[in-house]
């Protein structure tokens, strides 16, 4: 596998993200693979901003250990971001001839480019376009790929703007010669890939799952999922509403679902906490609802623009009382759509709250991927044909959900404990029967092969266990370890609750070492798995964000006890 990693940094508003997008699109048009992570400071404009591109000759979703090139459009706030882009020894630093890099970067090979003076040749010219052109040429991208990319991203602004920016890209492009060992020597694919953004891809999954209602309150980094759906959900005969807060968002979704529309909401840690009472209501009243949580740094308002997996315990244990529910996690960027679709399907099928553990790192990523196909799942049906012997909360069976206005199964959904017909009850017998019903409908269900992924030899000595954004990394590390003579497999958990213990147990028992890797401070996943499988020894690597876990860190951890 051939790879190249580069980072572009600059102050917010300097065009870092646009430059990154142009390059990534051009990489896709030229027939290569790659993905891009974005990193922002808290400011809307003027803070630090960076994009990190990982290019490869095969589909790739994991981090590299180091970066081969760092381009600074300017160096404002760079020190706040520097840790996120560790440089290789041979790394190059590119900069404008008049803005040399900070002394902390001395010792690296530098390349000064006349970015500003070239940009000034074009009216309203910005240096980010010149830089994108220069990088593109140096990486070995054909100019046509950059032009296609620019047209894709800017054509809505009119031909004049396209021409101006094309000129800027050309000025940069002519500054550099293609490097013979880079993209021009890589094998190209002839597929027609997708270029996805994580949150919108999640939105597509929700639509494929059949949601007809979505309510949400703005919160970083979940907002652009809602924004993507805003113009698309109406085309599916669905309703989207910006609620007054997260309390309203979850309750609106529950109300809509009760009234017949499969419903979802999206939020991030603080909003998830506000939604918890509502999630408990959906569990108790058995109303299907899907909640996408895009994990940012926590606790409290934490680090809104950075990533972590630290909402895991909230997702698992947040609702009060005995509240069995479902927690899913996407295994990488490409899996966001499938897991969102599956989550809606599970919510509808099991009539409960399904919480999906997305992460900022996945949600804000852009990636070149093979087209993401929809899952082939049966459509769960709403409606009751004959209400005469229909019982809403029978103790021994699931019953279909009626559609008010269509079916004659009048009942009152209730957060209070209730009898099988839904009448509030504080009898011990009703409480026990309904607790059993709500627990068993989840534990008796067969979740199938989607519950987890396995990658590697079945007789692996070492098992790397993880979820979410770490899955591509663990796969990569396991393969490298296996190639190096240490049979290692990766186990990715897509269904976190209820944990498919019976299927997992034989796989875990076979391995000699089982090592949980997660991006939390408190080893939340490790402790959860230890509680679920108390007789199986597990240990783990747990580190909080915002710095992503890199392959070298996993390898070092595996070396620790041989």
């Amino acid at each position: 596998m051939k790879t190249f990693s580069l980072a572009i940094t600059g102050s917010g508003g300097s065009g870092v993200v646009t430059a990154g997008k142009i390059l990534l699109h051009a990489v896709a048009y030229a027939g290569y693979w790659g993905w891009m992570a974005k990193s922002f400071g808290p400011q809307i404009r003027g803070g630090e901003s960076a994009v990190m591109l990982h290019l490869a000759d095969t589909p790739v979703e994991h981090n590299s250990d180091t970066f081969d090139l760092l381009l600074g459009l300017d160096w404002h706030g760079f020190e706040r971001f520097a840790d996120e882009a560790p440089l290789s020894e041979a790394a190059q630093i590119w900069h404008d001839e008049h803005t040399p890099p900070p002394t902390s970067l001395s010792g690296y090979h530098t390349r000064a480019l006349p970015l500003k003076s070239l940009a000034s040749q074009v009216p309203k010219g910005h240096i980010n376009m010149v830089a994108a052109g220069a990088l593109g040429a140096w990486l070995g991208l054909p100019f046509e790929a950059l032009e296609k990319s620019l047209r894709k991203l800017l054509s809505r602004k009119g031909e004049e703007v396209v021409q101006q920016n094309l000129q800027l890209i050309r000025l940069g492009f002519d500054q550099c010669e293609p490097q013979p060992d880079l993209l021009s020597s890589w094998e190209r694919h002839s597929d027609t890939p997708w270029l996805v953004q994580g949150n919108p891809l999640t939105g597509l999954g929700l639509l494929r799952g059949g949601i007809r209602f979505f309510s949400a309150y703005p919160i970083t980094p979940a907002t652009d999922l809602s924004e993507w759906l805003a113009s698309r959900l109406p085309t599916q005969n669905g309703v989207l509403i910006q609620s007054e807060d997260e309390l309203a968002a979850i309750n609106m979704a529950i109300g809509a679902s009760f009234a017949g529309a499969p419903a979802a909401t999206a939020t991030s840690g603080p909003g998830l906490s506000l939604m918890m009472e509502g999630i408990g209501l959906a569990i108790a009243a058995e109303v299907p609802v899907t909640v996408v949580n895009v994990n940012r740094g926590g606790p409290s308002t934490g680090i809104p623009t950075k990533s972590e997996q630290s909402d895991l315990e909230s997702l698992l244990l947040g609702p009060h009382g005995d509240s069995p529910h479902v927690v899913t996690a996407p295994l990488g960027i490409a899996d966001l759509a499938a897991t969102a679709q599956w989550s809606v399907w599970l919510a509808e099928t099991l009539q409960t709250a399904v919480l999906m553990a997305s992460e900022q790192r996945l949600a804000m990523a852009e990636a070149i991927l093979p087209p993401v196909e929809a899952l082939d799942l049966p459509t769960p049906e709403r409606g009751v044909k004959d209400c005469s012997d229909w019982v809403r909360f029978a103790t021994d069976a699931m019953s279909p959900l009626p559609v008010p206005g269509q079916d004659s199964c009048r009942y009152v959904a209730d957060g209070l404990e209730h009898t099988p017909t839904g009448v509030p009850s504080s009898f011990a017998s009703d409480h026990r029967a309904q607790l059993n019903r709500r627990a068993r409908k989840l534990t008796d269900f067969h979740y199938g092969e989607r519950a987890f992924e396995w990658d590697g030899p079945h007789d692996a000595e070492t098992l790397l266990i993880g979820t979410g954004s770490l899955w591509p990394l663990l796969k990569h590390c396991a393969r490298a370890r296996t190639e190096a003579g240490h049979p290692t497999a990766a186990l990715g958990l897509r269904l976190l609750m209820p944990l498919p213990i019976e299927q997992l147990r034989p796989l875990l028992e076979k391995a000699q070492r089982r090592r949980v890797v997660e991006q939390t401070h408190g080893a939340q996943l490790l402790h959860y798995l230890q509680g679920q499988l108390p007789d199986i020894p597990l240990d783990g690597l747990a580190r909080p964000g915002p710095l992503p876990i890199r392959p070298g860190e996993v390898h070092q951890f595996l070396e620790e006890d041989g």
Partner: protein
């Protein structure tokens, strides 16, 4: 024509004997009967509190949700299934305190639903704490010297937040209350009905309201200033429809159907 009792379920209310809410239930079911509401196309939504037990006592679809969250629940119901007649049953703690923000935003959206707030100026279900409409000097275990807080004026709030139907009723006058509720349900937009409903257990002095309640000596107006003047100047126990106006009901975006594959291609294909 159906009778009020046809709309009652066979569950007996948990309310204290003599509670004003019995008469609100009576008036609501009477209004439903007059309007001949289709039970299968009616949803009564509530939060938590004595008032909020009401959905179980009517024979329609219902949702007894969370404390303060009846309005967002009802908003979801109405938007997802606009054919339903949506009625929200709430109390002064549920609607004005824990659910205060939703009250403002529901008025502002002006969705076609009817909010009935049974105001007894006390938290009954938790046994006698002051609510946002309790008099400042009223003493309780949790406020031994009174709250010394100026009570909310919910009708003034509703008017300023954008409700298009604002009325007050009294549980001691169920005949008038039924008419007000029926008018509220028929009104196209967000109808807010404040219902004075005495708590005989924790506020027995409220039984004296029957001597003070009097109908509004004016026709419903669509003039906001006149309505606000009447709300603020007339005695607090004045009942009737203070304001009724035609104002746009919030409507979600609509769009022509597009196949999902086309959406996906447009968004993600190169």
């Amino acid at each position: 024509m159906p009778f009020a009792n046809d709309y009652k379920s066979d569950i007996h209310p948990i309310w204290c004997p003599g509670c004003g809410h019995f008469m609100v239930l009576r008036a609501l079911t009477q209004a439903m009967a007059w309007l001949e509401l289709d039970k299968d196309r009616t949803a009564v939504i509530s939060g938590i509190g004595c008032s909020s037990r009401l959905p179980a006592y009517v024979d329609t679809y219902g949702f007894h949700g969370l404390h303060g969250r009846a309005l967002p629940l009802a908003t979801g119901v109405k938007l997802a299934n606009p054919e339903l007649t949506v009625i929200v049953a709430s109390g002064d703690g549920d609607a004005y305190s824990i659910g205060g923000n939703h009250f403002l935003h529901a008025c502002r959206r002006n969705l076609d639903m009817t909010l009935i707030v049974m105001d007894n100026r006390v938290y009954g279900m938790t046994k006698g704490q002051p609510s946002p409409t309790t008099e400042p000097e009223w003493k309780a275990k949790l406020a031994p010297h009174g709250t010394h807080l100026r009570p909310f004026q919910p009708m003034a709030l509703a008017l300023s937040a954008g409700a298009s139907f604002v009325a007050r009723g009294f549980s001691g006058n169920p005949a008038e209350l039924s008419k007000v509720i029926a008018a509220g349900i028929e009104h196209q937009g967000f109808s807010f009905i404040e219902v004075l409903s005495p708590c005989v257990t924790f506020r027995p002095e409220e039984l004296a309201w029957r001597h003070e309640a009097a109908p509004l000596d004016a026709e419903p107006t669509d003039d906001l200033c006149t309505a606000m003047h009447n709300v603020l100047k007339k005695p607090a126990l004045t009942t009737g429809i203070f304001y009724q106006a035609q104002r746009p009901v919030w409507e979600p975006d609509t769009a022509a159907h597009r196949p999902l594959d086309a959406l996906a291609e447009e968004a993600f294909a190169l």
